[in-house]
């Protein structure tokens, strides 16, 4: 596992006070979907932020494609090919859909038209609403803009913090379908999910975190079949 494409290994750290993460390890391969689930306060989002460099680590390391990136800022990680979609405030509400995508590609100096067309092909509704301010879109459409913005850098890893929070079950299924499509293009996907059962369904790999440490790690299918996981985390 230590030669995974992206790995946060034995991560320990917190926001100043007590450690939130206690030796937690998260890894994902190219073209794979890894899902982090667990009860509230387990440190799921914190683990993701640590992988992205938004949380100082006391111990442990983050490696991307074999390189140690523990000391890099989030911005530098974006330049290295990591895309991050925050859970909230993840679009520029006063800017149009198209401008949101342009800002996603801010670091790129080459022609972004092709990538933009790919995003519109993935999320056709965004193409129809390209001139509309992102703040006027529905919750599900905003999430599509947020994912689209992160895809504009042509990342190798896409990290999603609860992409289906607050959207209807139909929209959730739709989003998961799109995420599978993105993974098929060879992008590694790491996401935190509240809707554990549905998320594990599409996951190649699942991490169950409890109190900042790994409790179960297995394929999504195996976790869904594991009676302990079912009883404790999936409601039977």
């Amino acid at each position: 596992m230590s030669d995974s494409f992206l790995i946060g290994e034995a991560m320990t750290g917190g926001y100043g006070g007590a450690d939130i993460l206690k030796g937690c390890t998260i890894a994902v391969e190219e073209g794979e979907i890894a899902v982090i689930v667990g009860p509230n306060g387990a440190g799921k989002s914190t683990a993701m932020k640590a992988v992205f460099g938004m949380l100082p680590l006391r111990e442990g390391a983050v490696r991307l494609g074999g390189d140690d990136i523990t000391a890099l800022t989030p911005q530098d990680r974006v330049a290295r090919g990591m895309g991050f979609v925050p859970q909230t405030s993840n679009v520029f509400t006063t800017m149009s859909v198209e401008e949101n995508l342009e800002m996603g590609a801010y670091l790129r100096r080459d022609d972004i038209a092709e990538t933009m067309e790919q995003v519109y092909a993935l999320f056709p509704i965004l193409g129809d609403k390209r001139r509309q301010p992102a703040g006027e879109l529905s919750g599900g459409q905003r999430q599509q803009v947020a994912v689209g913005r992160a895809l504009m850098t042509r990342p190798k890893v896409l990290m999603l913090d609860e992409p289906t929070a607050g959207v209807s079950p139909i929209v959730m299924d739709e989003l998961f379908d799109r995420i599978i499509e993105i993974a098929r293009t060879g992008i590694a996907i790491l996401m935190v999910e509240q809707n554990a059962r549905q998320a594990l369904n599409i996951a190649d790999k699942g991490y169950v975190l409890v109190q900042g440490a790994n409790r179960f790690t297995d394929t999504g299918e195996a976790l869904l079949a594991n009676p302990d996981v079912r009883r404790s985390f999936l409601g039977g």
Binding site: M95, M103, L107
Partner: protein, 338 residues
């Protein structure tokens, strides 16, 4: 139809509409600077009035130097030639204060109120600097042709009893304001840097995640704000006169304009500038002559019919400011709530 109502309209045009357009343009340019700093740096910059004074002072000194060399700009004021130098001086001092004052508080992630108080300090420094260099007195630096249309020529041309005068500085102010506003909007909506500024203003964290360099955004914001401040100050000084204290006082109508329109919103700043300018002028204008044309013979009012004496013009901005904050704190164009 009698010509009386037309004469009434001409009086109003001459004393309210033409000066209001010029004053409104000057306030709009000032308010644009305040609103941009607010949108990107997230604080109300109390030093903006004195930044206007500083930039104008630099322009005046350069104008005098050009005049001493015998350089002129034909019918246009020489100050226009000196304007770039004034802008450079204002930009330089803004970047200096950003480096020495505001950057420290940005690194500390200080709350906006700390920035506001720091900007009051910068205001006093700029204020003192300007007075030390050019003195506290009135300076006139307008030259070139004074009028585009003289009231007397207007009367002989049209045959009306009332004339409409258009001073060069008034025409110039409106033209420059239109050009600058169009350029600014093209920059904000079309250019990569302009969009990055809007993105940074909209959602700072997401802008950082997109790789937008905050230091560049802040620098460009100061450059634009200082250029707008100098422009507003020079146009105001050409139109009226330059006195450091007057520029400090302009802070109130400028803030009122930015807030009425919705602070952080450039369209709002422009609308707000004209709203404040016309409110001030219509409330402090003496309607005696205007009504004299509209009322029947012998009914002409004896008093000045002036709602408020001109000394109280700042009360107008202040009342509008308080009313907006009470009734619609986001302003007309839904800016941020302060």
């Amino acid at each position: 139809m009698s010509v009386e109502p037309l004469n009434a309209l001409l009086v109003l045009t001459n004393f309210v509409i033409v000066p209001g357009m010029a004053y409104g343009s000057q306030l709009a340019l000032g308010a644009l600077g305040v609103t941009l700093v607010y949108a990107v740096l997230r604080f109300s910059n109390f030093a903006h009035g004195d930044l206007m004074a500083f930039g104008t002072m630099a322009t005046i000194l350069f104008t005098w130097w050009l005049q001493a060399l015998g350089v002129g700009f034909g019918p246009l004021p020489t100050a226009l030639l000196a304007l770039p130098a004034g802008i450079v001086a204002a930009v330089a001092i803004s970047l200096l204060f950003d480096r020495t004052v505001y950057r420290f508080y940005r690194a500390q992630k200080s709350p906006p109120v700390v920035f506001v108080i720091a900007s009051v300090g910068v205001m006093f420094l700029l204020n003192g600097l300007t007075r030390m260099i050019i003195g506290p007195d009135d300076q006139r630096f307008a030259d070139g042709e004074r009028f585009i249309i003289r009231a007397r020529d207007f009367k002989t041309m049209t045959g009306f009893d009332e004339g409409v005068a258009l001073r060069t500085t008034q025409g110039l102010t409106v033209v420059v304001a239109i050009v600058v506003v169009i350029a600014l909007f093209l920059f904000l909506n079309r250019s990569r840097m302009g969009k990055a500024m809007r993105a940074y203003s909209d959602n700072e964290d997401l802008a950082l995640l997109s790789g937008i360099d905050p230091n560049r955004v802040v620098m460009v914001t100061w450059i634009i704000a200082a250029a707008l401040a100098t422009l507003a100050g020079v146009l105001y000084g050409l139109d009226k006169s330059f006195k450091p204290f007057t520029y400090f006082q302009l802070l109130l109508p400028i803030f009122a304009a930015a807030i009425v329109g919705g602070i952080g919103n450039p369209v709002g700043a422009i609308a707000g500038g004209f709203i404040i300018a016309f409110s001030e002028l219509t409330v402090t204008y003496a309607y005696k002559r205007f009504l004299g044309y509209l009322t029947p013979e012998g009914w002409s009012p004896e008093g000045l019919i002036q709602l408020l004496s001109t000394e109280y013009k700042f009360a107008v901005s202040f009342v509008i400011l308080v009313m907006v904050l009470l009734i619609r704190p986001t302003g007309l164009f839904r800016g941020r709530v302060i």
